[in-house]
Structures are given as C-alpha cells and as structure tokens.
Amino acid sequence: MTRHPLACILPPDLLVQLARSADPERRVAILQTLELDHSFRLGRAESASRQGARPSVIAPQVNGGQPQRQIYDQHNSTAEAPGTLVRGEGQPPVEDDSINQAYDNFGYTYALYWDIFHRDSVDDQGMLIEGLVHFGNHYDNAFWDGAGHMFFGDGDGQFLTDTTKGIDVIGHELTHGVTQHEANLIYRGQSGALNESISDVFGSLVKQYHLQQDAATADWLIGDSVVGPALAPALRSMKEPGHANPHDNQPATMDNYLNTASDNGGVHTNSGIPNHAFYLVATQIGGYAWEAPGQIWYDSLNSPQLQPNATFAKFASITLRQARLRYGAGSDEAAAVKNAWTEVKVPVR
C-alpha cells in the first residue's frame, strides 16, 4: 500500500479537539505538539517576510543620532493606514497631549538605543518612527503592526488609560520592531514569550535610562503609568512576576510555566520567566541595568545564533556566551547570568 505522507499528519484542528477531551497529562503533550506544529508553520511564513540581507557595515556609522518621528491622529478609527500627520520631527508641541506624549516617549526610546547601543532606530538604518494615536474607540491596548507602525489606544478608563503616557509601553512596542529586524522571534510559545520579554526588558531600560535609576532604585514594573483601577498598580512586575495586579498570572520560574493555546501559547504570561531572569542579572551585577545586563541582552538579540524558534534554554545559553565574550569567562557578569537562569530553572550551559 502506498502511504501518502500528508495523510499521516494530524491536522491542528483535530489536535485541538483531542486536547479538549484528553486527560491532563495527555493534554500537555497535545498542546506541546500543537505549539511545535504552529512554530514550523509560522517560521516558514515569517522567514518569507523577513527583511532582506543588509550590506555589512565596514566603516563606523557617521549618520544617525537623530530620530525621525511622525505622529498621526487616527481620529478613533480602526483604519490600518496612518491618518492625519499632526507632529513631525522637530515640530513644536501641539495641543493634543497624546500626540506630544508619543513624540517625547519615542524620543526617549530612540535615545536609549542610540546613546547606549549605537543603534539608529528600529532597523539600525534610521527608519521612520511612526506612531498612530487615538486608534479605535476607548481601545485599551497598544500594538506593533509588523509593518513599521505602532498603534496606541486611549484606553477604556477601567483597565487602561491613555497608552501614550507609558514610556515603557512605547519602548516595548518599538522594541518589537527591533526584534523583528534582528532575531525575528516567532510570536508563539517560548520564542513568542522571549519576544515579549525582550520588549519588556528594553521598555524598562528606556524608563530607567530616562530617569537615571539604577537597578536597586527601579521599581521593575511594566505599565504602571497606563493602568486603570482594574489593573492597578501595574500590568507586570519583573521583580515579582504574578504580583503586579489581581489578574497577574505570570510565573517567575519554569515550575509554573503555563501550557496553553490561548494568547499564542501564553506569550504575555510566560514572559515572566525571562523577565525575572533579567531582573536577577541586573540586581546581582548592580549599577545601571542598561550597562552590562542591557549590553548582554542586546548582544544576544543581535547574535546570529538566536533563531526565530529559540527556546528559553537556547536564549539563556546565548546570554551566557555573550557575557563570557564581552566580560570574560570568570567575570562577575557571566556568573550573574548563569545564576539568574538557574534560579528561574531554565537550564543554561
């Protein structure tokens, strides 16, 4: 009998049906299979959408150092294209606070990347920074669209308020663009949680750099300036995952890793584990978190070893390697990285 290979593969929707009626142990296995299946599918799709190869930079960058911001008013529509350009680069403040907040916070985000990592905008080639504010009606969210734009809602007043107020929110969204241009981490499962965590890490560093806070002084909260009463005092805590608000279910270690099909495999939940690892690295090394810890993480994000389908363990090993390369195999920095991943129970070699 001729076996057609495609007839032997269980389709994803059948796996979902099986998961619903399976016993707990088998359900975990089925969900892991689904996660792996989706990662291959999305990996193929995302490889096809990746930016083409950039010419290697031989000479030091002589341009850069100045953001090119364009802030648009979406007039509470859900249109995907930019609406009315209200404030361009170098133009004075306008009456609309949301426009000005977006403009300023994008400036602080650009400043971290340029001053500390010498990165010229999202793509390291001076890409326009386009913020689209007043998206939707009481829209309680902000997002990166994968096509160079960041959208910001006004909030519903209960869960979120004006999302342009959050310097870490804006840093978070722009960093999704940086990640897309570098490792292009698949937005599902562990690679998706890493994608989310990297945005929380650099969003936090934008805030800490702007406020000149060291690791001991920083509050390590995400979104504390944009939450409404239902999510107060913050959306997430890198210091204490799971304790930011009454609905916070983030784990701090792999012991409580959430296997779920929801939210692309829990990307906003399981990001708590690598978030906490970064917090531990930063507080163990001490000083400013954008220096050694931020540099290790930035080097790792840019490492060719970091593939789109990276696991936590793979990312951990890359951060340790980068720490050893930059600071020495026996350095305090490398030890802090190893200790941190061990503490959150991600295997690291």
Binding site: S49, N141, W144, G146, F159, Y187, T269
Partner: protein
C-alpha cells in the same frame, strides 16, 4: 428580531496587557441593534469572514473569538484587530464591556 434563545460566548485574548476577557450572555441582554448583528452573523456566517489578519511580525494585537448558539444552529468566529468586519465591531465593543477578566 433577535431570537430569544440566541446565546453569545465572547472571548478576547492577547493585547499588550495579556488579560483574557470573557462573557457569556443571551442576545436579550444586548440592545436590539447589536442583538441583530449577532442574529445576522448566525444566519449568514460568511458575513463574518475576517477582512484581514495579523501581519507577520505583528505583536500585541487582540484576538477575538465569538461563539453563537441558537438551538441546533451554532457557529464560531475568530478575528484579529485587523480582521473584524466593520458591522461586527460595535457588537464586540458591547460584549467587552460586559466581559470580566479570566
């Protein structure tokens, strides 16, 4: 007129905050106009086809799931922020106001 037996299960996941919102309501709990949207969706599921999808590389968009049940008739829908038909948006907005975090 909306069927008094029409039930609507709503779920929103994803988003920057990562909070899952859920509601399970009868159509009679909604204003007539919005109950009518749900009724029309169940009568003509093709009208609820996504108008787009999350582009590759996108992050933090919402994902909306709607399950409509009326007796033997049932249908499920799923959209990202960029795929919700215009006629459906007011219904989702109303359901989100009734929803609670899970």
């Amino acid at each position: 007129m909306a069927s008094s037996g029409l039930r609507i299960q709503y779920r929103r996941t994803g988003g920057f905050a990562g909070i899952e919102m859920a509601a399970d309501v009868g159509a009679d709990q909604l204003p007539a106009e919005l109950a009518g949207v749900a009724t029309r969706l169940l009568a003509d599921p093709e009208s609820g086809a996504p108008t787009g999808s999350a582009p590759p590389g996108a992050a933090d968009l919402f994902d909306y799931q709607l399950r409509l049940t009326d007796g033997d008739r049932k249908h499920s829908f799923e959209w990202s922020d960029f795929g919700v038909p215009d006629a459906v948006r007011p219904l989702l907005s109303a359901l989100n106001q009734l929803a609670k975090p899970r």
